[in-house]
Amino acid sequence: MMREEKKPLMTGTAAPRLDAWAKVTGRERYAADLYSDRFFWSGAKRAGIPHGKLLEVHTEDAKRLKGVVAVLTSADVAGSNRVGIIRGDQPVLADKKICYAGDPVALVIAEDKDILQEALDLVTFDHEPLPGVFDVEEALRKDAPLIHEDNPWGNLLRLVSVETGKGASAFDECDVIVEGLFETPFQEHAYLETEAGWAYLEEDGGLVVVATTQTPFRDRNEMALALGIDAEKIRIVVPYLGGAFGGKDGITVQCLLGLAALHTGGVPVKMWLGREESFLASVKRLSAKMHYRLGVKRGGAFHTLECKAYFDTGAYAGLGETVMTLGLEHAGSAYRIPNVTIEGSCVYTNNSVGGPFRGFGVTQVTAAMEQVVDMAAQRLSIDPLAIRRINAVEKGDKNCIGVTLTHSTGIKKCLAALSEHPLWMEREGWKMKAGQFKKRGVGIACMAHAMGYPAAVPDFANAKIELTMEGRFRIYVGIVDMGQGNASAYAQIAGTILNQDQGAFELVQPDTGRTLPSGSSSASRTTYVYGNALIIAAEDLKKRILDKALSFFKTARSQDIVLGPGGIGHREGKKKISLKKVAELFGETERTCKAYFRVPAATEMMDRIYLGPHIIFSYGAHLAYVEIDTLTGCIEVTGYLAVTDAGSVINPQAYEQQVHGGIAQGIGFALSEEYKVTEGRTDTKSLATYIIPTAMDVPDMVSIAADGVEETGPFGMKGIGEISISGPVPAVANAVADACGIRVPRNPITAEKILQALGKQNKQERPR
C-alpha cells in the first residue's frame, strides 16, 4: 500500500490523502456501507403537508404487517423529543404540529426494505390543516398564521441590526447612490452520500450510532436530551463522509436511528435516506431577499451602506439565525465603509428547513454587495477592479460592522495578483473575439470569510497523538473529515514536526468513545483549530521521544540526536534506533500526548452583533469569463480565476481542490441550482430537476494562493473551506452585465431570465 521511499511529510508541499488508496479501490467503508448477517431497516413517515395540527397517528395497519418490528410515534420518545442547537424547537417525531412537509410523524422498523416501504405507506395520520406561510415578508405581517405560537416575536426568529458612523444619514454626503433588490434561492447541498447510519445497543446498555454527521459530540448531547438517555451512554462514530458542505451539521438520522435501536432487542438497525427524502428532509441554504443601497464619493470611496435583508429559516430555527448573522457581519464584503446601517430579519416559514451551507450566509450577501459595487463603478465610470482597490480593507482598518482587523488581511494582495493575471490583462481581446450572436463579458468579485465560531462561542480543539507499540503514530482525529481532507492535513502537520513519512501515520476518525471533543467540521475551522492543538501535542511527543531515546546513545544532549522516518539517529554516528524500540521504553500513558487549543476571539465590541464578532478572516478575488448566446439566452462560464488569501498553504493540491470545489458549487448556484418549494411542497425532488454542474458545465479553473501568513495559524494557514463559494454568483452576474448590459438580480441566472432581460432591454432601446 505505501510506497517504499520514506520521505518525511512537509507542510507546503503536495501529499496524497491518507484515505486515497482506500477510496480508489472501493475499500473505504462509509456509514451506508455497513451491513451484517442480521439487521433491520428503519425509515420515517414524512408528513407531506406544510402546516397543520397533528391529531392522531394511525399505526395499527402497519404494525399488523408481517416483518414489521415496531412502529413508533412521539409517544415512544422518552426525552424532550426536541432537537435544535439554539432553540430546541424541532421535534424528533412530530407531536402537536406539522411545520413543514419533511416533518417525521412515525418511525418504522422492519425486517427488510420492501416491508419497510409497505409499512410506511400504511401509516396514516389525522390533521387539521392550517394556512401556510411561504414568503418572508408575508410571514411578518400581523395577521400571518403563526408557526411557533410560543415564539414571542411571531414568525420573526431574530432581528439583528448594526449601525456604524452616521448610519443612513450619511447618504446625504454621497455623490452617487446605487441600489437594488437581490434575491438568492434555497440551495441544496446535494452531497453524493445521502444521510445514513447504523445503530445498536450494546450488552451494557450503551447505544452506538455510526452516522453521517459533522458534529458528533454536539449530537451526543442533543440525542441525550431528546431521547432521555444519559449522554455518557451514547457513542457516536463517524467514518469519512461522502460530502456534507454544512448539510450534515447537526441531527439528521441520528435521533431516529437511536430511537429505533432502543426497540430492536439488540439487533442492529440501518437507515439510509433515498435522494427524494434527503432533499425533502435536509436543511437548505437559507434563501435571502436583500435590499442594498451603496453611497459613494466622486473619487470612488465607499461612504455609506444600507442593507436590509430577510433570511428564510423555514420551519425550525436550527442554526438559521447564526447563518444570517454571519451574513450580516460580511454585508460590506471586503471593504472599508465608514457609515453603515444593516438590518436582518430571520423568519420562520413553512418552506424547507434552513441551515448551514458552505458560505453560511456570506454567499448571500456577497452576491448582492458585489453587484452594487459594480453598479457604482459603472455610474462613476471607474474600472471595477480600480474601485475595489480603492476600498479594499487593510490590516488595521475597520470592517463593515466597525471591528478593527488585527489579523492577516490580504484582499489587496489578491486584487494585485488578479490584476497581473493574463485572464485579466487579456480580457478585452477575448471579448472582441465573440462569434456571431454571442456576447462575452468579464466580471470580478471580492469576498471575505470569517474563520471559526463567533466570539461568544468558545472555539477549541483537543488533539491527541500516540506513539504506538509498533513505532507508528496514531492521530485521534477530533473533527470529521467530510471530504475536505483535514484528517490528512493533520498527518502532514504532525509529519512535519515529527519528521515522519506518510506511512508512519494511522488516523482514528471521530468517535466520541475514542477521540476528544474538538467541535464541528464547519466554519472553515477544521485545520486551523485542530492543527494548532496538534502542533502542541506533537511537539510534546517529539520531546518525550528524544528524551527516552537518549539512553541508547552515548550523549546526554538531545540536540545530538535526530528523529527521522521510523527511528532516531545520532547526528554524527551511524547508530539508529527504531521507534518501536523507543516505544518499549514508554509507559502506557506516556506514549500519548494531548493538547488543547482555543481560537483567539474578540474581546471588544461583543455587543456589536449577535454572539459577538469574528477577528480572523480569509479573503478572495474572483474573475469569471462568460459567453452568452443572444438568440437563446444560453450562458456558459468559459474561464475562471480565483485568488485567495487563506494564509500559508499546508497542501497545495488540497488547497486547490477546496477552491475548485467551492467555485463549482458557486457556479451551480449562479447558473442552475434552485431548490424550489411551491406552497410548501418540493418541485425539485431529484438530481434530474435540481441541477448541479457536471464536468461539462464548469470550466478549467485557475486557483492562485496569495502570499501571506496568518501568524496565529498552524504553519501560517487560515480557513480555506468556504470562501470560494461566495465569488461565482456576483462574478458571473457582473460578467453578464458586462457582456449585455443586463442585470439578473435573482440567481440562478438561467437562459430564460437572460432572454427576458434582453427582450426588455430591446424594447427600451427601440425608438418610439
Binding site: A14, P16, R17, D19, A20, W21, K23, V24, T25, G26, R27, E28, Y30, A32, D33, Y35, W41, G67, E111, D112, K113, D114, I115, H189, A190, Y191, L192, E193, T194, A196, Y240, G242, G243, K270, W272, L273, G274, R275, G483, Q484, G485, Q653, A654, E656, Q657, H660, G661, I663, A664, Q665, S686, L687, A688, I692, T694, A695, M696, V698, D700, M701
Partner: protein, 169 residues
Amino acid sequence: MDDTQGGAGHGKQYAIQLVVNGDLHSVFVKANTLLVNVLRNQLNLTGTKKGCELGDCGSCTVLLDGKPVNSCMVLAVEADGHEITTVEGIAQNDQLDALQQAFIDHAAIQCGFCTPGMIISARALLSHTPHPTEKEAREAIAGNLCRCTGYVHIVDAILAAAETEKKEV
C-alpha cells in the same frame, strides 16, 4: 436507500449467475432486485456506491460486458449470465490500475463517494479511446456527478492515466 438480500418472503426468487470481477457467483434475487443491491448486499462489494437510485448521479457505475452502466438502472435478472466489473476488480492483485494511481497522484479524490463510478467510466473511455482529448474525458464522465472537486483534477487524472498507459504499451 437499499434493498436487503433475498429472504423475507416477498415474491418469487430467481437463481441467476453473474461473473463479477472474474469470479462466478450464483445468487437468488427477486424480480425487482437491482444489480447494485446484489453487488452491495449479497456480494459485499460496497465499493460500488449509490447516490440516487434513479440513474441521475452515476455513483453506481459498473462495467457490464465492458460497457459502463448505472447498476441502479439494471435489474439483477437482466445481468444474468453477464460479466460485471466493479471498482474492486480494476486493480490487478495489489497493483493499482493506472487510473487509480493517477487519481491518487493528481488529488482527484475528496469525499470519494463518486470516485469508484468515475474510475469505472474513465476505464470504459480509455478502453475504446486510449488518447482522449480533454473534451472527450469530460464527456465520458458527464454522467458521473461530483460535488466536491469541480472536476478539474479528475480530468487531469484521466488524461495522465492515458499518458501512463501509452508509455506502458
